[in-house]
Assembly symmetry: C2
């Protein structure tokens, strides 16, 4: 799966993923599906992926799932090479995990699902039975209380080994499959950098840039693999609600996407991204 994502990122020259997280009260037009379609149409030339946060569709009930269906169909119609991430953070085992995987990959038709691995490999493997599909395991999240569980030290001989490291190790178990990546937030750049150094292979889905405070350029440098890729930076509210004006919300969404795309790309240019830092030492 992640090969396809690499291809999309190369083709679009963009590591940007737009989070399609619409809530009726914030969407500047009446029709949520039309809003999503307008955002997709306006941004598809400057991003390589879309992420649908299932919570917002579930909130709208059956109508929400119709909107989800229509949104994914529209991406397939107008941006067939783009990757669709289903951000559902599902986590279960056995036949229940298989039911979730089938729901995400076949019923809704996403390419990559976000999942929890709190229940161990039993909660990952059912998702790997779908050729051409992949998962991002929630590993190191961007919120303040992520420390409650994720930061617990689990190795008495090395205070740097924390719960989230063990979750990251699980991705390496499936390194050969190229189907398992990690969710690593942008708000803890030292952890992002350390995880990338320890785990050169898995793809990273990186939320937390923008509204949540993560710095885009630092994120790109910390999250990229040795080939200068292997990650997606997701921005939701920063892009889709860039303007609350029904006349220009899509244009502003595109502008914000392009700005983020350029920040990430510039940061990864040979020496390019380091200019700002270098300047401070002149």
């Amino acid at each position: 799966m992640f090969e396809r994502l690499d291809t999309a990122a190369r083709k679009m020259e963009s590591f940007v993923c737009v989070g399609l997280d619409p809530t009726p009260e914030r969407v500047p037009i009446d029709d949520v599906l039309a809003f999503n379609k307008a955002i997709i149409d306006a941004t598809k030339d400057v991003v390589s992926a879309y992420k649908t946060q299932f919570a917002y569709y579930e909130l709208m009930g059956i109508e929400g799932f119709r909107i989800l269906e229509g949104t994914i169909q529209h991406i397939r119609d107008v941006a067939p090479d783009h990757v669709v991430v289903g951000d559902a953070k599902r986590g279960d085992i056995s036949t229940t995990a298989t039911a979730y995987a089938t729901a995400l990959f076949e019923t809704w038709g996403v390419d990559i699902a976000t999942i929890y691995a709190y229940q161990g490999t039993d909660s990952v493997e059912p998702f790997l039975q779908y050729p051409g599909k992949g998962v991002y395991i929630v590993c190191r999240t961007s919120n303040p209380s992520s420390r409650d569980i994720q930061d617990l030290v689990v190795d008495c001989t090395d205070q740097k080994v924390q719960v989230f490291d063990r979750v990251a190790d699980m991705a390496d178990l499936y390194a050969g499959s190229e189907n398992v990546g990690l969710v690593v937030g942008a708000t803890y750049p030292d952890d992002l950098r350390a995880l990338r150094m320890k785990h050169p292979e898995p793809h990273f889905l990186i939320p937390g840039v923008g509204a949540q405070g993560g710095d885009a350029e630092e994120t790109a440098r910390a999250g990229a693999n040795e080939q200068g890729g292997g990650f997606l930076v997701n921005s939701s509210r920063g892009i889709i609600y860039a303007s609350s004006n029904p006349e220009d919300f899509d244009i502003e969404a595109r502008n914000e996407s392009e700005k983020l795309k350029n920040l990430l790309n510039n940061a990864l240019k040979p020496n390019g991204g380091f200019k700002a830092e270098t300047l401070t030492f002149e």
Copy 2:
């Protein structure tokens, strides 16, 4: 919320929760909603709660959500005092967690939702803003690979303190609210007993009895609080698929529910439940 569940358990004299996890290929009649309704009608006098596993409804797409809606409505119609657990194991933060909570408690109308706390208190608190509703935090699960993350030792001075203990500690943070319980599997009875001793207050939702190998009587004794309650034992496949015969699946579901109810109740009678063990020493 859990007061209402205690009342239901006392009234029905039953700690049994029936897991309504239908898959079209295993349901012995064509109509999944009619199947759920028949199971509810047949079992409502011997159980106190129903648990809908969202994965199986999501798998069926929009039609599945109609079945979910109809199922919950039927429980309200014929068993209004019974509690409905939405087993969705959601886990997210901030406005996304609020969207999931609103979806579960208001759109679908469940009483208690299962959630993950891997993202810390940020992923619990949005669910506690709904008066009369509650959550079970996934703590110690019943599957073999639960050890991968849940069993990691997090206290170098006490090898008995594991990740799942820290998750259980989170329930105590909200002890006053009476709205936070824990999911603790039946297949690790020593852990179940230890968790109950350390955490006398929170309600436990206990899966893993029956098909997964947990012993019902041992589970009741290990999971009950000092008042001899404070838990639900869930059985799904063992009850709803007790018979694959369209003529008697509901009768057999009731028989299995009643059997489980009696096993749990007998185990908790003063000295009663210990008879079998005592006999082996005669």
